[in-house]
């Protein structure tokens, strides 16, 4: 049964990824991306990583995708975003894509990946929590600084350059 679910997920995942690449409508593409993200979460569930799966949904669908949709709606062609799909340099791009695909597939097939025994599904949240507070404490904290810098950076970029006069007027 897991095989069946896996193939359904794979089919939907790849299908919606292709849809994202080929649809001319940006909003449709964003929705396709949502489907890709969601099926990826499905893969995580199949691998027994429940916490990661929900994180994937909460962050990618709930955060990043919503932000992208927001971005689309703040553009001036708010109602009809369907632009033309301009294809430039189809030949070279196709060559690169095929080469990359070939290399990656060859890589995956030719490698004897070290495979672990399938562990029975077990709760992961507490183990992740413990690891974050012990072995991976430093990356965890650095991620906090990273987010702080990103936050300040976002404000700096979004700020209009004439802010000073307003600040003075408030005083």
């Amino acid at each position: 049964m897991f095989d069946f679910i896996f193939f359904v997920f794979s089919f939907v995942c790849i299908g919606s990824a292709l849809f994202v690449a080929f649809t001319p409508n940006v909003v449709h593409a964003a929705l396709g991306l949502a489907s890709t993200f969601a099926t990826l979460a499905g893969f995580y569930v199949l691998l027994g990583a429940d916490f990661l799966a929900i994180t994937q949904i909460a962050i990618y669908v709930g955060g990043i995708l919503v932000l992208m949709l927001f971005g689309i709606m703040y553009t001036h062609t708010i109602a009809r975003v369907s632009g033309e799909q301009v294809m430039m340099q189809v030949g070279p791009a196709l060559l690169v894509v095929i080469l990359t695909l070939f290399t990656l597939v060859a890589t995956i097939l030719s490698t004897a990946w070290p495979v672990k025994e399938v562990a029975p599904p077990a709760p992961t949240a507490d183990r992740i929590g413990v690891l974050l507070m012990t072995d991976y404490l430093l990356p965890f904290e650095v991620a906090a600084i990273l987010l702080l810098v990103a936050l300040v950076g976002a404000v700096v970029i979004a700020q209009t350059p004439v802010r000073k006069s307003i600040e003075e007027s408030v005083d």
Binding site: T111, P114, L137, I145, G153
Partner: protein, 498 residues
């Protein structure tokens, strides 16, 4: 077997970084308190940098027992100490340049310094990370801040363009690097660099998958050091970003790229054979690939610099070429190679900062970025012209300057190995040094030989003059005691290898 030190016990070796993180917040929050509203945040920043400097200087170059901090996340070794000092000096210069420059308006300086301190922390961690996860986070912290600072002067369209190009290329290449790292993790089952080497040595891994992983990681690092196929962002970003940030990117960011390079490649993809020489892991002799990369980088960088009229852009291409030279030291795969890279980075630090300080003075105080604006600088401002001249001579590698010594050690280390690819790279490096004379001399010619009647004396600022002088003097004086400095870099070129 290495002993990993736990989180709490590691803290005493981590005070500098903690202070930087704190200062990053303090600089941001302090202006919100009415009493401190008019305090210049540059003082806080400089204090933070100096304090971190003291902490770094007091760090030992190795732990009492061999091992890493924070359960193997960070290394405490000579290399990390060297790079931390390197970043501190460059950031200090950038802070001074920003404080007196006019590119960043006063009311935005707190944010600027906050992000700069964040970047500095990222650079610190890049230099000492021994775990792929930590390395990725550190590089990302460094890059993310750099994207913002590159687009900091929001009034200029060029700056926006620079930030946009930087972030697009950056996102793609760090994504590629992360993908490569995931392959490496899949192959070896560990993210610790030392454990990865051990796993690579123990197992028979297909060369193809290793090559893909190597290549993808090289994309990320090549982007940071602006090596050739990944260099397209450099000229536009250098030109568009505020000049002080350009200086920072050309020195500290590139240095961080090399730190990551040495850390990942020399720890994971090489094994030390006991005679001060490294050997590539059995799966792949990646030296050939890197030497081709080095030759391409220096040649293309130099050739592209020929037609440039904008000095910042020209220095960007010069920076690309210099990344190529430094890669020559990297492919020597010997302890002398690492040592010479560090030495070269010292010379490059002072040389480039000297050059950029003069460029900043001209761009910021006089609004001149094109070579035409440098005409007659020799009489208009003899001292600045002298500083820039010294820097340019050093970049070429003319004997009495520091750049000469740097190149000398680099090429010597590469030739010593007698590897045909290394020798080829050295020959290319020498030819390229000759090539580069042309475009550096275009600036020299403009400064000393061409007339420019209309232009008055150069406006400048005392602090900037001091910075220019402080950066120029080492370039001139390193030759006096180059040997001892070289020995010092030898002490600091030790990595934590396990």
């Amino acid at each position: 077997m290495l002993t990993w030190i736990g989180n709490v016990a590691s803290l005493k070796y981590f005070i500098g970084e903690i202070w930087l993180a704190l200062a990053c917040c303090i600089v941001l929050m302090l202006p919100l308190i009415p009493r401190f509203k008019n305090v210049r945040m540059s003082w806080v920043t400089i204090a933070a940098i100096l304090f971190a400097g003291i902490c770094v200087l007091r760090l030992p170059t190795a732990l009492p027992e061999e091992g890493g901090l924070f359960f193997g996340m960070l290394a405490l070794d000579g290399l990390s100490k060297f790079f931390k000092l390197f970043f501190l000096i460059s950031t200090l210069a950038v802070v001074l340049m920003t404080e007196v420059g006019r590119e960043v308006p006063d009311y935005r300086k707190p944010e600027f310094y906050s992000i700069l301190l964040g970047i500095l922390l990222g650079a610190f961690l890049t230099a000492s990370a021994t775990d792929l996860l930590m390395m990725y986070l550190a590089i990302e912290l460094l890059s993310l801040g750099s994207y913002v600072l590159a687009g900091f002067s929001r009034i200029e369209k060029k700056s926006d363009e620079a930030a946009m190009k930087y972030i697009l290329y950056g996102g793609l290449s760090t994504g590629g690097m992360l993908f490569g790292m995931s392959y490496l993790y899949g192959l070896t089952g560990s993210t610790n660099l030392i454990a990865i080497r051990e796993a690579l040595e123990a197992s028979q891994i297909h060369p193809l998958v290793f090559f893909v992983s190597f290549l993808l990681i090289m994309v990320g690092i090549g982007y940071k050091i602006s090596a050739v196929p990944f260099h397209f962002w450099a000229p536009d970003v250098y030109q568009g970003a505020p000049t002080s940030i350009t200086a920072f990117l050309s020195v500290a960011s590139k240095g961080a790229g090399f730190a990551a390079f040495i850390r990942i490649f020399y720890t994971s993809f090489l094994s030390l054979n006991g005679e001060g020489l490294w050997e590539p892991v059995a799966q792949l002799d990646w030296r050939i690939f890197l030497s081709i990369l080095a030759i391409a980088t220096m040649t293309l960088g130099n050739l592209a610099a020929f037609g440039q009229n904008n000095v910042k852009r020209l220095l960007a291409y010069s920076g690309i070429a210099h990344a190529g030279y430094i890669l020559v030291g990297a492919i020597a795969l010997s302890e002398a190679g690492v040592q010479s890279i560090l030495f070269y980075l010292i010379t490059y630090l002072f040389t480039n900062l000297a050059a950029f300080t003069v460029v900043l003075i001209l761009a910021d105080c006089n609004g001149v970025e094109e070579i035409e604006g440098y005409r007659n600088l020799g009489t208009r401002s003899p001292w600045l012209a002298f500083c820039l001249g010294v820097a340019l001579f050093s970049l070429i590698g003319v004997p009495p300057m520091a750049g000469f010594l740097g190149k000398w050690f680099l090429f010597a280390a590469a030739v010593e190995t007698l590897d045909p690819w290394c020798v080829a790279a050295v020959v290319a490096g020498l030819l390229n040094s000759v090539l580069s004379v042309y475009y550096y001399f275009r600036i020299m010619k403009a400064m000393y030989l061409e007339k420019n009647e209309g232009a008055g004396p150069v406006k400048s600022h005392t602090v900037l003059n001091v910075v220019a002088t402080a950066m120029t003097l080492p370039v001139l004086l390193i030759i006096l005691d180059g040997g001892r400095l070289y020995d010092w870099t030898g002490e600091l070129s030790k990595l934590l290898l396990g």
